[in-house]
């Protein structure tokens, strides 16, 4: 298997031959930061293009076609436009909180992004408590959204923020519980170890029925966490104009927009890492020839292929289902998803003790 780790190790050795350890580390930190931000931005451009195209196909349209072949440079043009836009100063907002909110949302999203294992060794943060870190950091985004709604000094943003807060806090529960189910199966929280364990059978096959239930619950709850699809009440345009980011303009709005798309990818990537084997190729025990053929495909491609399948599922749901009402939304979480995922944890305990 060709791991990108060879490239990073080569860079590390190259820097260490010419510099002292401290400076080599320092340059590596900066390089990692730049690479993460660049990948973050590029992925956002790709996701926006993919979303517009797929949405168009679902609605029997063509989507963007003008800029470049099949319109692939459309989101680049949009990016240039949003970077050049004026940041409108709004009367009677709380300026400090108004600015801070956009940064909080995007910082939470980038911190989570750094912990995703794209390949062996291509992971900025690999803590022992990986899964818990993901849950902890992603909860910072809620504060950003609440502050954005409050600081805008507008009743629509306020209602949007309240809805969003209620929704995110509720769905975080079943998100966390379904991730815990997989932590029970693998016995560790470190993301790199979880991926290594799935070399011969992905967790969704190894964990049987409880893992499949957890996967479905995670997809639903994660989808609700991103404020999209049938769960986009916080920005329901028919009632609230644009929800908590109504008053934002220019790149500050861009931050919310970026974070929304990347959160969709991050949810898909976490689902991939924990349930679908991360960057591990599809291996079937006993089929040695098949396994070797699968090994020829680079792990990074495996990771992105699986993550984009999950993203496609999210888009499919978004453009198929009508929007929920707020009471239906909260009932779904508190009366269906959470009891099911609590029961599922018990089921997984039985599975781990007696069946594996």
């Amino acid at each position: 298997m060709f791991h990108l780790q060879t490239v990073t190790q080569w860079i590390d050795e190259f820097l260490r031959t010419y510099l002292t350890d401290g400076w080599a580390l320092f340059i590596e930190f900066i390089l990692i930061g730049v690479v993460i931000l660049a990948v973050y931005a590029v992925l956002a451009l790709i996701l926006i293009y993919v979303e517009r195209k797929i949405c168009a196909f679902f609605q029997c349209r063509l989507g963007p076609t003008r800029v470049g072949p099949f319109g692939i440079f459309q989101s680049v043009a949009d990016m240039v436009k949003i970077l050049l836009k004026e940041l409108i100063k709004i009367n009677r907002v709380d300026p400090r909180l108004f600015r801070l909110a956009a940064y909080l949302v995007i910082i939470a999203s980038i911190c989570t992004f750094g912990a995703i294992p794209f390949d062996k060794g291509i992971q900025a943060i690999d803590f022992n408590i990986g899964v818990f870190y993901l849950l902890a950091v992603s909860s910072l985004g809620v504060v950003g959204i609440l502050l954005a709604g409050w600081a805008s000094n507008n009743k629509y943003t306020m209602i949007g923020a309240m809805r969003s807060g209620a929704q995110l806090i509720s769905y975080e529960l079943s998100c966390g519980l379904s991730l815990m189910t997989i932590v029970m199966l693998s016995g560790t929280m470190q993301l790199s170890t979880i991926v290594e364990q799935q070399a011969y059978a992905w967790n969704i096959f190894r964990g049987g029925i409880p893992a499949i239930i957890a996967f479905v619950i995670y997809l639903i709850a994660g989808h609700a966490e991103t404020n999209r699809g049938p769960f986009d009440l916080p920005e329901a345009e028919s009632e609230l104009t644009a929800g908590y980011h109504t008053e934002y303009s220019g790149i500050q709005f861009g931050f919310f927009y970026l974070a929304e798309y990347l959160n969709m990818f991050i949810i898909a990537a976490i689902a991939t890492t924990l349930f679908l084997g991360g960057w591990m190729p599809l291996h079937i025990p006993g089929w040695d020839g098949f396994n070797q053929v699968m090994d020829f495909i680079p792990p990074v491609l495996w990771f992105f292929a699986k993550a984009f399948i999950c993203v496609f599922l999210a888009l499919w749901v978004r453009w198929t289902m009508p929007r929920l009402r707020i009471d239906q939304l909260l009932n779904l979480e508190w009366k269906i998803l959470m009891p099911v995922s609590l029961l599922n944890i018990v089921l997984m305990a039985i599975w781990v003790i007696w069946i594996i």
Binding site: G22, D94, N128, I129, L135, S139, L140, W150, G165, M189
Partner: protein, 173 residues
């Protein structure tokens, strides 16, 4: 890591947490005070990361940023008006506050100087060591010496009582 980089990071975190905590108590708007409090708590999580206590850092962020501060924000949303401005305190209160802060600093300094740290001279404990999540989990759920199943269960009963109390207050009659 390099001692100099460590020192720079520590000083930055320290200055940030001091400035933000002063801002948190002196802010004129309640919402800003809550936000500064959140940032102070995140700085504290930074200190835990600095000590390689990743678990505690994650707990700090998820409990305070994901729980307590959001609770504060919701409480402020539901009870206060946009134009509310906190009243200025009387001068005497500042004096007492400064005295209390000085007293706190004196006590902690005294404790720091007097206390014999177990790992202070033990070189094997210094360095980039991470406590395994498994050890923490077993310490929380075990019944032997230095394991904490009983306090854990007592706390969960307390929380259960609080939840039932909350439902009882909030239910429709």
């Amino acid at each position: 890591m390099d001692p100099i980089i460590n020192l720079i990071l520590f000083v930055c975190l320290g200055i940030a947490s001091i400035v933000l905590s002063v801002l948190a108590v002196s802010a004129k708007r309640l919402m800003r005070a809550a936000t500064y409090l959140l940032l102070v708590l995140i700085c504290t999580a930074g200190f835990y990361l600095f000590l390689n206590y990743h678990f505690l850092a994650a707990v700090q962020v998820s409990v305070y940023a994901g729980g307590v501060v959001i609770l504060f924000l919701f409480a402020i949303f539901l009870t206060s008006n946009e134009n509310d401005v906190l009243r200025r305190h009387q001068a005497g209160r500042y004096l007492w506050g400064a005295l209390a802060a000085l007293g706190g600093i004196a006590v902690t300094t005294f404790a720091l100087v007097k206390h014999q740290f177990i790992y202070g001279d033990n070189q094997s404990m210094v360095g980039d060591q991470e406590i395994d999540m498994k050890v923490i989990g077993e310490a929380l759920m075990g019944t032997e010496k230095y394991q904490y199943l009983l306090p854990f269960e007592v706390l969960s009963i307390l929380l259960l009582a609080a939840i039932i109390g909350g439902i009882l207050i909030a239910r429709k009659r």
